[in-house]
């Protein structure tokens, strides 16, 4: 790519790294637009899908950091459930929605902190550390909620996720804007701050990062705390959407979140990852589910499709890498 072609396509450098998931998304959009021309691309349906992307999208923002650092967080589904239960419990006790949200986010942060400490200080690999947390957080959530859901008034947290006209901003629900804002912010953090650069450095070559004086342990702890915070936030949004705190929510959600990040172009080997790509990955999966519903495709077909798409996305990406090198 030389300077002249670069200037003739001013957006290309920004788009190239996320070309894969973007193309995938456009394919899915095209397919369902063809099958269901009226409903699929209606403003109302776009709004619907945007809300459906919020929870996985928030999770994917945090997960992008973890995966870029060469780690993985299997506990995020359980953390979402635990945070939703904590937020609901606080709401039930009559506190302000703001406090509920903060409690939920703090819960996520604590889970992330424990993950980070176990990984960075005890040297347990992320897969195992977060697999453990997956059980622990889920168990604690059930325990706190006495093994049932907690009904509580969500207040304006409910409005955040609401598609009703009263609560929309520029046509989209508030939570969607919040997610977008956070995505842009964290995208900047990943690319343009020291924390982001260290995250990528650790994922790229941990020993090097250590030798260069990066505080690898401490950075990892921050990364998992960050992921926990986003898990907590997703939990709060889950509470807002369900208006109940549900200890059995988001079972298996970690795999959706990881799939979104991977479809978005991140490598589980670390060193790569883009928030924009992850959000596109989350959108792709949401549109796929939505399109399957609209066209009445049975769930098992959808399950098969998503499996195939995940593998195809990565296989195509690998192929692209290989041919680009040659």
């Amino acid at each position: 790519m030389n300077a002249s072609t670069r200037s003739s396509l001013p957006l290309w450098p920004a788009i190239r790294p996320i070309a894969g998931p973007l193309l995938g998304l456009l394919l899915v959009l095209g397919l369902f637009w063809f099958l269901e021309p009226d409903a699929f691309l209606s403003a109302r349906n776009l709004r619907t899908v945007s809300v459906q992307t919020v929870i996985v999208g928030l999770g994917a923002i945090g997960m992008t950091f973890v995966i870029a650092s060469g780690g993985i967080d299997l506990s995020i589904g359980s953390v979402i459930a635990l945070a939703s239960v904590v937020a609901a419990a606080v709401a039930k006790a009559g506190y302000d929605p703001m406090l509920c949200a903060m409690a939920g986010v703090a819960t996520g942060a604590v889970c992330g902190l424990v993950n980070g400490l176990v990984i960075a200080r005890l040297g347990v690999i992320p897969f195992i550390a977060t697999l453990g947390m997956m059980g622990v957080a889920r168990g604690v959530a059930k325990w706190l909620a006495s093994e049932q859901k907690i009904d509580a008034p969500a207040g304006w947290l409910e409005n955040l996720m609401s598609k009703a006209e009263d609560y929309r901003i520029l046509g989209l629900p508030q939570a969607v804007w919040l997610t977008l804002l956070l995505a842009i912010l964290l995208g900047l953090v990943l690319r343009h701050t020291v924390l982001g650069s260290h995250t990528l450095a650790i994922g790229s070559n941990e020993d090097t990062a250590r030798l260069c004086g990066v505080r690898v342990g401490r950075t990892k702890i921050w990364i998992y705390v960050l992921c926990g915070i986003f898990g907590g936030l997703a939990g709060v949004m889950t509470f807002g959407r369900l208006t109940v705190g549900d200890p059995t929510t988001a079972i298996g959600e970690e795999l959706d979140v990881i799939a979104a990040v991977v479809i978005g172009g991140a490598s589980l080997a670390g060193g790569e990852g883009r928030i924009a790509g992850s959000i596109l990955g989350a959108l792709l999966m949401a549109f796929l589910a939505n399109g399957c519903n609209l066209t009445g495709v049975p769930n098992y077909v959808q399950e098969i499709l998503i499996g195939v798409i995940i593998v195809a996305a990565v296989a195509v990406d690998r192929y692209r890498h290989r041919t680009m090198e040659a």
Partner: protein
């Protein structure tokens, strides 16, 4: 619309309905589906049957409802996974002019047009009375619960425990807090473990199909089937076999086929401007070894999926 793929003549299909179960991989829902299909064939309506993309996931079910609101169907028939969590999105449907009929499990909202269901609590009450009678009003009983957060089974379980406590003071519940798990194999495993530690029990109650199935297998496997009085819930071939063999002493049956049929009928009646009943109870019945093959009971479990779901 896409309803023509569902059969029925598209000429007649004036209304397009979404029917949303709690999950799709279960005989119970197949029966509901069959009932709904029967109504579809008889009425000017086409239905799309679509469960949550993740079995028993509240958010996934909300998303399905959302998607059908987006699509602009004429009516939504739903069995809500949660009595509270689904309320906002159902309200939204109503606000969009899409009427809602609730089936099987209730919601904390009265904006629906009709509620077609079994009284779940009543199911537990009936089971408790039947079991207590079987063991002569005294002894030790055990109940294995389904999984955490399953609302309709909780109601049955509570109905059972309350009835035992209030009506049968001589019956002691020795274990009532263990969850079997979400799948049949997990329930089986838990049942085995529970049976080991409770050798001296007289009766067992399980409030849904997976737990009943798991318990039945565990009883069979430890040679205790038929020696302990056992009341379960729902009907599958395996459970009916157990009932006929005397390994199960009673199955509380609902009428899922009728639920599906009535729910769609009510919706169509509403859409045609007719008044409909707010609540329709499809009732619970206890099937026993003696009555299982009678005409009335047979209708409850012998749904011909192949006929309806082809």
């Amino acid at each position: 619309g896409s309803g023509d793929a569902e059969g029925g003549s598209s000429e007649e299909a004036k209304y397009e309905l979404a029917v949303i179960p709690k999950g799709t991989s279960h005989e119970f829902w197949k029966s509901v589906h069959s009932g709904a299909r029967k109504a579809e064939m008889e009425l000017p309506v086409s239905i799309t049957w679509m469960g949550p993309s993740k079995e028993d996931d509240r958010i996934a079910q909300i998303e399905v409802v959302d998607n059908f609101i987006s699509k602009g169907v004429d009516g939504i028939v739903i069995s809500p996974l949660d009595d509270t969590a689904l309320v906002p999105v159902l309200k939204e449907a109503k606000a969009e002019g899409i009427p809602v009929v609730v089936v099987d499990s209730g919601v904390n909202w009265d904006g629906y047009e009709s509620f077609v269901a079994t009284d779940n609590r009543q199911g537990g009450v009936v089971a408790a009375r039947h079991l207590a009678e079987l063991i002569g009003g005294e002894g030790k009983v055990m109940m294995m619960r389904y999984f955490e957060g399953s609302a309709s089974t909780s109601k049955r379980e509570i109905g059972f425990l309350d009835t035992i406590r209030d009506e049968f003071p001589k019956v002691e519940v020795v274990s009532g807090n263990q969850f079997g798990g979400a799948t049949s194999d997990e329930c089986y495993q838990t049942a085995e473990n529970l049976l080991i530690n409770h050798q001296e029990i007289d009766g067992i109650f399980c409030a849904c199909e997976p737990t009943t199935f798991g318990m039945l297998r565990a009883l069979q496997d430890s040679d205790r089937a038929g020696k302990v009085r056992f009341v379960g819930f729902d009907a599958t071939d395996k459970l009916l076999e157990g009932l006929r063999a005397g390994e199960i002493d009673g199955l509380v049956l609902q009428d899922p086929f009728r639920m599906g049929e009535l729910a769609v009928q009510r919706m169509v009646e509403h859409l045609e401007g007719k008044p409909v009943d707010k609540f329709v109870d499809t009732g619970v019945t206890v099937a026993t070894q003696e009555n299982v093959d009678t005409e009335a009971i047979r209708a409850l479990w012998n749904v011909d999926f192949d006929k309806w779901l082809k």
